[in-house]
Amino acid sequence: MQLKPLARSLAAALSIVAIAGCSSTGGTQDGDSYGSQDGSTTGSSTSGTGTGSQYGSSSGSGSSSGQQADSRIPEVRTIYFDYDRDTIKSEYESVVMSHARYLRANPSAQMVLHGHTDERGTREYNMALGERRANAVERFLNIQGVSPSQMSVVSYGEERPAVNGQDESAYSQNRRVVFNY
């Protein structure tokens, strides 16, 4: 099944997706049509063709339980980042995609992206870095056809660590974006 490219602001298109259960929507055209305008800001590996192929494979394997899955908020709601980066790592693209599917399937659902950093560096500068991470995820979801009206971003910087500690193990668990419904 091949839908026309999703216009992110078209509620009509979103409702079609919702009815269709969205398990096999999209294809590469989403990535192609939005990827170029997004460019490097999302991070090189998170847009364009990379997005398209990741999307295609996950929708294929998940099609049997797709409709049911998209009626529930995805269970994995945290993704992690490298130090000083806002690039969505390829291992987390499927997580972001699952949220994209859910949000498209549930146009009334609202979600807040919380951006976090590790504790190193100054607090207000980290506030800005946390926002960059959350913005990167928001753009990615947007490219996948999620309406901007369903999403908002709040950066917590280093103020709400997931774990305490001053080693890389703790730092790596604190550099994260959390999907809050």
Partner: protein, 428 residues
């Protein structure tokens, strides 16, 4: 049950100003080798009083790094007025200055007489009778410390000032935050605000009556302005995105801040009277952590427009901001010295994040702290010390280092993390 607990969460936000047990204690971590030897003799008549005024004065002078007080056990004479001071005795103890005094209880409080002697010059430098209303012996002691400090160093004392700071306990979704104001020695802390959402970046108004700060109590950041004495407050900004890093202008009429409502965080200036904001920076990078020059004519701020964070100076006349820091690839959160000739900042060195100083006349950067996880430097109003947040073990503590780096002290907290210190202006 769930809705009940939600109501409770909102109720936890207390605005009462109450005495709480978040006092900080002092540990001197580095004494200056150029500190002046001074003796502060126990004040006669102070036995049984609620505070040992001479001890508070001695601790103040010790903490400043300018003085090396003689231990009480070495004082085999304890004069309480200048006429009784045997200069030879104190000279033999290598003391250059001596403080003597006496205290007595009065109907309305206390009366403390003190005198400062120059031992090598064999003269009385200053003396005063301090009237204490109620129980404010600590306030009187800090006042005496201010007089002594200025008489000897020609620098106005900052012992009667306050520090604001933030406390945090817990992790993840279960955290408690507090905003406190305490004396500059960490004692007599009072709670300004508590919340289960983050509190950040307290900033004193130049008259010392108000604090601007960031609170996430509505589950997103907003800047509030609160009267410290009355607890009354207003929400100053709550734009979409970041509302952060408030900094009062020297005239108290404007607050510089970082807002991301139009995309990336940019520097804005808010008119306190009508809360309108004017955008100052405009580019695709992070601009945050503004600080006003003491003359109010320029702003220092952090920007990553060159790739990593560096400090820039924007002149109110307009034009391009000038980059000030070139040492290393991380320089952030700058603050001016009161004379406007130096900046204090966080610099990432090969060891970690450290407090550093740079003269504005050049670009040489000097690291001041020995700790390596430092944040949030804030300069004393007399420019002699910089207080900052750092880590001791796994706890956040406040620490201070002298502007020349020669002396330092720490203010450990009994429980939880302490962070984000803001040194008040002169209050008297």
């Amino acid at each position: 049950m769930q809705s009940l607990s939600k109501v409770w969460l909102f109720c936890v936000l207390l605005l009462v100003s109450s005495v709480a047990s978040a006092n900080l204690t002092i540990e001197i971590t580095r004494g200056s080798d150029q500190a002046l030897p001074i003796g502060v003799v126990p004040f006669a008549g102070s036995d049984g009083m609620p505070e040992d005024v001479a001890q508070i004065v001695q601790d103040d002078l010790d903490r400043s790094g300018y003085f090396d007080p003689l231990e009480r056990s070495a004082m085999f004479e304890q004069p309480n007025q200048s006429d009784d001071v045997q200069f030879d005795t104190w000279r033999s103890l290598d003391v250059r200055y001596l403080v003597v005094g006496r205290a007595e209880q009065t109907s309305g409080g206390f009366e403390i007489q003190f005198e400062l002697m120059d031992i090598s010059g064999q003269r009385r430098m200053i003396g005063e009778t301090v009237t204490v209303r109620g129980n404010d012996l600590r306030g009187a002691a800090h006042y005496i410390s201010d007089q002594i400090f200025e008489a000897i160093t020609d620098i106005r004392g900052a012992f009667s000032t306050k520090i604001a700071y933030v406390t945090a306990q817990g992790v993840g979704d279960n955290m408690q935050f507090g905003l406190y104001v305490a004396d500059a020695d960490g004692r007599r802390s009072e709670q300004v605000l508590t919340s289960d959402e983050p509190i950040m970046s307290p900033a004193w108004s130049p008259d010392g009556t108000k604090l601007a700060y960031v609170s996430f109590e509505t589950e997103r950041p907003a800047i509030y302005i609160q009267d410290v004495a009355t607890g009354q407050r207003i929400k100053a900004t709550s734009f979409d995105g970041i509302n952060g890093a408030p900094a009062w202008s020297p005239d108290g009429r404007r607050i510089a801040m970082s807002l991301s409502k139009d995309g990336q965080p940019e520097i804005y200036i808010m008119d306190v009277a009508n809360r309108s904001v004017e955008r100052i920076t405009n580019n695709n990078s992070i601009d945050t952590e503004p600080a006003w020059a003491p003359d109010g004519r320029s702003l220092l701020f952090t920007s990553d427009r060159s790739g990593g964070p560096q400090l820039y100076q924007y002149s109110m006349g307009g034009g391009e901001a000038e980059r000030l820091t070139y040492t290393g690839n991380y320089n952030a959160r700058g603050r001016f010295s009161p004379d406007g000739e130096q900046i204090f900042l966080i610099h990432r060195s090969s060891r970690g994040y450290q407090v550093a100083r740079q003269d504005l006349s050049g670009d040489r950067l000097v690291i001041l702290s020995e700790s390596t996880r430092d944040e949030s430097p804030s300069v004393a109003p007399n420019g002699t010390m910089v207080i900052f947040a750092t880590q001791q073990g796994n706890s956040g503590v406040l620490s201070a280092v002298s502007a020349d780096g020669r002396s330092s002290f720490r203010l450990p907290s009994a429980q939880g993390d302490v962070r984000d210190p803001a040194w008040s202006p002169f209050l008297n």
